[in-house]
Symmetry: C2
Subunit: 136 residues, 2 copies
């Protein structure tokens, strides 16, 4: 697969095309997404490093036209609902703020940071699967 | 460049080799790193999305055998100093927790998440440059 890099996107130093071509597009087709397309996204996130390898991120999803879609959709404000109304899948990212080890509960200072890094792996995997693309 | 994927590393769903091959190795050569090798890492981070595109992450670095190295090194506890004593560069990641827009200062709820995502881009760029590799 060839990654599409928008012409205006010029990097000051050379970087991997998977990273340079990643974009946050806000127009969606609403096409149904199969599990074969969806699950590799979570798989990519799963390989991220985390605080003592606790993997405290949680990805909860609802596909369009399924039971929980509306519940997920209503979590967003109107502005975000406007551009996600045609999304194929909505994913809520959570992070567990606490780790329990041998009965001791402790705060995970990097819980949000780790979940952000896992999210980036997911976003780049979306890009690798050509799920984010432009029709010129 | 061919990415090396450790044999034991099997993904349940197919993912991009750049992501699957990323590893957190803890043995370092101490070789000097040129700016040509270092700056693309920050460049990769720079293209990450953030809260209203504020780009609130800050990457502060010290190269080995330079003036600020010791200051950076002493920020770590002994355990982390053990495996970073041969690092070529130490990078401190910071995030600005506040955004000032038209004189109004507001909290950035995703500051740590955004910085984590930028970090992952940096880590994958390290991998793309073959900076993390195994000598068998």
């Amino acid at each position: 697969m060839t990654l599409f890099i928008f012409k205006a996107r010029k990097s000051q130093y050379p970087i991997h095309p998977l990273i340079l071509s990643r974009r946050s597009l806000r127009v969606m087709s609403g096409e149904e997404m199969s599990d074969e397309e969806l699950f590799p996204l979570f798989e990519a996130a799963r390989w991220s490093p985390s605080f003592y390898n606790v993997q405290e991120w949680r990805f909860v999803y609802a596909k369009r036209n399924t039971r929980h879609w509306n519940k997920f959709f209503r979590l967003m404000n109107e502005k975000n609902q406007n551009w996600t109304s045609n999304a194929s899948v909505l994913i809520v990212l959570l992070s567990n703020m606490y780790n329990t080890y041998k009965g001791n509960k402790s705060f995970i200072p990097s819980h949000s940071f780790d979940t952000g890094s896992a999210w980036m792996a997911l976003a780049l995997q979306c890009n690798a699967q050509n799920l984010v693309r432009i029709f010129l």
